[in-house]
Amino acid sequence: MFDLAYFSQTLVNGLSVGCIYGLIGIGFCVIYNASGIVNFAQGAFVMLGGMITYVLLTTLHLPMIVAGSIAIIVVALLGVLIERIVVRPLWDRNATMFVMILATLAVQIVIERTTLILVGDQPKSIPVFTDLPPIRIGGVSIGYQTLWIIGVSLVLIALLALFFQKTLVGRAMRACSINREAAALQGIPVSRMLALSFALSAALGAIAGILLTPTQFTAFNVGTPFAISGFIAAIVGGFGRPFGAFLGGIALGLAQALAVFGLGSGLKNVAALSVLLIFLFLRPSGILGAAK
């Protein structure tokens, strides 16, 4: 029998995980727009966000807000480091796209394995931000963490919109995404934009990871599945459009939730890949059309 409460519950869960996919998807777009690179290490940022927060909470017993902030900053710095020591030399050599993809994927593996060695393979979790019983609306219960995820995502979207439209740096990054050569001629330091895009995208990934970890868990190997979902979100939104990617993330989250509702939870990733393939088949330029 059709269970409306369970159905609504599934949709709410899909919406919140969709926001996370959206944030990861935006991370892909930010780097892609600045450089044309698809960063396959994006998932590592998500994993590290939750993992570093966990380590700080359990070893130093820092308050959540401090632990989270440090994690975001560390991951952002790591993003810059990756840009400097791996991406930049290849970029300067004008390496092909697939070399770039392979290198960033190798970075993902290195981070994943280092994490495994340092903290082990057991899943870790962190406490929810607000420890109150969930709000009940009809038969649907909405946890405070879900509200946190949706709320923080929306605030981030608004901040990003302001950043890209109002600030000089944000506008310079947009100029790079439209035409890198022209931007360079206008005196925009394109290479600094590349470093900045890695920092921004890493920070977004870390925030997504921190938001998500209390409701699920984090482990050394959660990065790649999240990267794939975030990438699909970016494609569904029309690759290179940050806000399209957010909508794409929500669409993917809901589609996955429906697949879990209808077919069982084992098929979550199969559903995501099917969404990707169907989308590429029917409308490769995304919901809103491609950025170019």
């Binding site: 044309g36 690179i37 698809v38 396959f40 791996v86 030399p89 290849l90 050599r93 004008n94 390496a95 092909t96 796209m97 697939f98 070399v99 770039m100 993809i101 392979l102 290198a103 994927l105 190798a106 970075v107 593996i109 290195v110 994943e112 394995r113 280092t114 495994l116 060695i117 790649t224 599945p225 990267a227 794939i228 990438f231 699909i232 494609i235 084992g266 990733n269 199969v270 995501a272 890949l273 990707l276 393939l277 590429l280 088949f281 490769p284």
Partner: protein, 334 residues
């Protein structure tokens, strides 16, 4: 060989070029003679040589990226395991069914994504790698989940089975020779030229009438069949299969081998597979560090030796004025 760089003209250069391949063959021959633990290692190296030869056709020749080759190996491996151990099929038909399944899967993934830019396929293949892994874990009635399937018979035809270590190694050597020969035949044909051409310039290839999307798909399917064959060989040699066998590490290992041996060359996959499997035996003990080391090595190779270890030798001899030949064309980045 038509891919000979023009910079090598001396006999010493030729010797240096073929030295790794000669050493590789020597090591395998030694393993056959010496026996023991070395045989097992050499066997794994040869199985990986098949896997990497397929990867090389798609990446080295066609210039495309696939991160899901482990999925095709898993399809081949599990088809062989389930059909022979559970249903009592003879190995060869099981192997063919596995290869057909891998090819079909490659078409389903490749058809929508290969018309688009490279990162779409890259991500879709990364996803199929994870999905096949999940399926092998979840579909317990067939795959027995984490437990895996044991009691897989050795390869053979009819009542004749290849059981002894040495016989298996000889058989693998023959299979690898056949695989490399077919890779050579493919490379030096109208088909092979078309896929190498499109890796150089898709526009120019289309302007000459090459149906770029179709040829990329064909190269992808060929590489999937090689991977599937490697998967089948593995389960018959080891006699056991579990989901972990075809994990993501297989992909990173494959790439590292390809870059160590020399991407886009016929002997590169074999050389890379042997170097990675036989020489750093010390690393193999520290299993947790293995992927870390390979991942880091891959990054270093990509940055400092994009043509593989063999190209380092060339770089030393090359006149400073000659540009370093790119393993893939420049400017393909979007």
């Amino acid at each position: 060989m038509p891919t000979l760089p023009t910079t090598i003209s001396t006999n010493a250069g030729l010797l240096l070029r073929y030295l790794p391949a000669v050493l590789a063959v020597g090591l395998i021959a030694y393993a056959i003679v010496a026996g023991g633990h070395f045989v097992t290692l050499a066997g794994f190296a040869l199985i990986y040589a098949v896997f990497v030869t397929g990867l090389n056709i798609f990446m080295g020749y066609a210039g495309q990226a696939s991160f899901g080759q482990n999925a095709f190996a898993a399809i081949g491996g599990y088809a062989s395991a389930v059909l022979t151990a559970t249903y009592g099929w003879p190995p060869i038909p099981a192997l063919i069914v596995g290869a057909a399944g891998a090819a079909l899967c490659a078409v389903v993934i490749g058809y929508p994504t290969l018309r688009l830019r490279g990162h779409y396929l890259a991500m879709a293949t990364l996803a199929i790698g994870l999905i096949v892994y999940e399926v092998t874990v979840q579909w317990q009635s067939v795959t027995q989940g984490y437990m895996g399937i044991s009691g897989i018979p050795p390869l053979g035809i009819g009542s004749w089975e290849v059981t002894s270590d040495r016989a298996q190694l000889i058989m693998l050597s023959i299979v690898v020779t056949l695989c490399m020969a077919s890779a050579w035949l493919i490379r030096n044909s109208r088909f092979g030229r078309a896929i190498v051409a499109l890796s150089g310039s898709e526009d120019a290839a289309r302007a000459l009438g090459v149906d770029v999307a179709r040829y990329k798909l064909a190269a992808f399917v060929v590489s999937a069949v090689y991977a599937s064959l490697a998967g089948s060989l593995f389960v018959h040699i080891v006699g056991f299969v579990s989901p972990e066998v075809f994990g993501m590490h297989m992909v990173i290992l494959g790439f590292t081998m390809l870059y160590v041996g020399g991407i886009g060359t016929i002997t590169g996959p074999l050389v890379g597979a042997i170097v990675i499997n036989l020489l750093p035996e010390t690393f193999r003990g520290l299993k947790d560090y293995q992927d870390l080391v390979y991942g880091a090595a891959l990054i270093l190779l990509l940055i400092y030796a994009p043509g593989g270890l063999a190209s380092l030798g060339n770089a030393l001899k090359r006149r400073p004025s000659t540009p370093i030949p790119a393993t893939a064309p420049k400017g393909a980045r979007p």
